[in-house]
């Protein structure tokens, strides 16, 4: 039995007729054509599908979309700042924080949340709090460096 649900994604409202089994990940990719969010394991183990709900990072593959009404969703398509790349997006490019790039949107969504949570104080803390995002290419050193750079830039910008 389907139900009409209004989802707010990156500030835009979408009215959708959803089966309760549809995950937020599948709805983003297959219905809203927001394919930046990636499907890796589809079982909550890899972090590639990380998005923000109410500003907190979650896994969209384990989230039933029909439960997301009234909860603003932000995806990688919604993180631009003043029309330009987010500081963490720029830093990921500068530090080669990726190779194949498949995990990158999830890494960035997780990293942005991490910066907001205040758990990016040391490389060790970054590694621990980013451990839910796997990178099979092993670009971890670049990812940690990128988060450190974005952290420092965002502090400077706030001063």
């Amino acid at each position: 039995m389907t139900a009409v649900v209004i989802l707010t994604v990156n500030g835009r409202a979408y009215t959708l007729d959803l089966d309760p089994r549809e995950t937020l990940l599948d709805v983003l990719r297959e219905r809203l054509d927001l394919t930046g969010t990636k499907k890796g394991c589809d079982q909550g183990a890899c972090g590639a599908c990380t998005v923000h709900i109410d500003g907190r990072r979650i896994l969209s593959c384990l989230t039933l979309a029909a439960r997301c009404e009234g909860k603003p969703v932000t995806t990688i398509e919604g993180v631009l700042v003043d029309g330009g790349l987010h500081p963490l997006q720029r830093a990921m490019i500068e530090h080669d924080g990726l190779q194949c790039g498949y995990c990158t949107p999830g890494q960035i969504m997780s990293g942005i949340a991490l910066l907001d949570e205040g758990h990016a104080n040391t490389p060790e803390e970054i590694r621990e709090w980013m451990s839910g995002n796997l990178c099979r290419c092993g670009a971890y050193n670049g990812i940690v460096e990128a988060i450190e750079q974005a952290r420092d830039e965002m502090v400077d910008a706030a001063d």
Partner: protein, 327 residues
């Protein structure tokens, strides 16, 4: 995934009413249930979305910590009263899962999460927990990660929760609403060993709903630790874990509490070890080790997991010394 119906009750009484429906399941954070419904390890026709019920938040009144069942793992871990007074609870949470999952998963759901035994997860294997009477593929299969305590011929799957181990050490109680009214149960006795019916994991009956968990003040102040040993540095279930709190009389242990994870079919309180630790000096390594080893006197290792006896013994010694502030 099979067809499901998603229903949203307006309050606790309506949720309890819906909970009596056959093949219904309460849905909170969904991190465990959605995954297992998809693999077919669990079945439910009706999911009762309880997330909107007023069961979220934490309160400490000086004597007791009360945790609403829908409080998120990340919310509980960052609660100042928890960090200050129940350090092993905060540590057990932050050593669990990932930041994303901790933002989703509820405390009630965490306590009732199902085992991560790979034979339970995959329908192609025999599993008495998933399909009663079908047999156990783990007993003669890959069983490095399985239980050495509390197992049976029918099942040797470990309980997966870190939080439950810390809460059992802390003498936590679970508060439930059910068809016969409200009831309370010590968390330790909520869990049932598998014996011949591994599909029954707790004393909870159909339709019962966990509404809160409460924890008494820890005697001796906040000396506690959660030590978790695993094969990856992070984001991994425990091979062996120890929740320990220690009340000291000068440099000797007045009273210790020790619970184990990763080694048993349920969160495992090491009562014998606790008794033997009484009066032991924190620097008396031999006595600490003897007390720790007593936790495994009845251990029944399988082909691949005999190492857990020695690893567990050492982990208890380390955790007790850390909790006592001497390591």
């Amino acid at each position: 995934m099979q067809r499901i119906e998603l229903v949203t009750p307006s309050g606790i009484s309506e949720a309890l009413e819906l909970g009596r429906t056959p093949d219904a399941a309460y849905l909170a954070g969904g991190t465990n249930l959605v995954d297992f419904l998809r693999t077919g390890a669990m079945r439910a026709m009706t999911l009762i979305d309880i997330d909107g019920l007023p069961l979220r938040g934490t309160d400490f009144d000086g004597e007791r910590l009360r945790i609403g069942a829908l409080t998120r793992m990340s919310e509980l871990a960052s609660e100042p009263a928890v960090r200050d007074r129940y350090r092993f609870i905060a540590e057990s949470l932050e050593l669990s899962a990932s930041a994303q999952l901790r933002n989703m998963a509820s405390i009630g759901g965490n306590l009732l999460q199902r085992t991560r035994c790979p034979y339970f997860r995959e329908r192609g294997f025999k599993c008495n927990k998933r399909t009663p009477g079908s047999g156990c593929a783990a007993r003669d299969g890959e069983n490095r990660r399985h239980a050495i305590l509390g197992g049976s011929e029918a099942c040797v799957a470990t309980h997966a929760s870190d939080l439950a181990v810390a809460l059992v050490a802390a003498d936590a109680e679970v508060h439930l609403h059910g068809r016969t009214g409200e009831w309370t149960c010590p968390l330790e006795t909520l869990y049932i060993e598998p014996a011949s019916t591994p599909e029954i994991e707790t004393r909870i009956e159909r339709g019962d709903l966990i509404v809160a968990v409460s924890v008494p003040r820890l005697p001796g102040g906040p000396r506690s630790v959660y030590l978790k040993l695993r094969e990856r540095a992070s984001y991994e279930f425990a091979l062996v874990s120890v929740a320990a709190s220690v009340e000291l009389d000068r440099a000797a242990i007045k009273q210790a509490r020790v619970a184990l994870g990763g080694v048993a079919t349920r969160p495992w309180r090491a009562h014998d070890t606790e008794q033997r630790l009484q009066g032991v000096a924190l620097d008396d390594f031999d006595a600490l080790r003897e007390a720790a080893a007593s936790a495994f006197l009845n251990a029944r290792p399988l082909r691949d997991n005999g190492f857990k006896v020695e690893l567990g013994t050492r982990a208890i010694v380390d955790a007790v010394r850390q909790a006592g502030g001497d390591a």
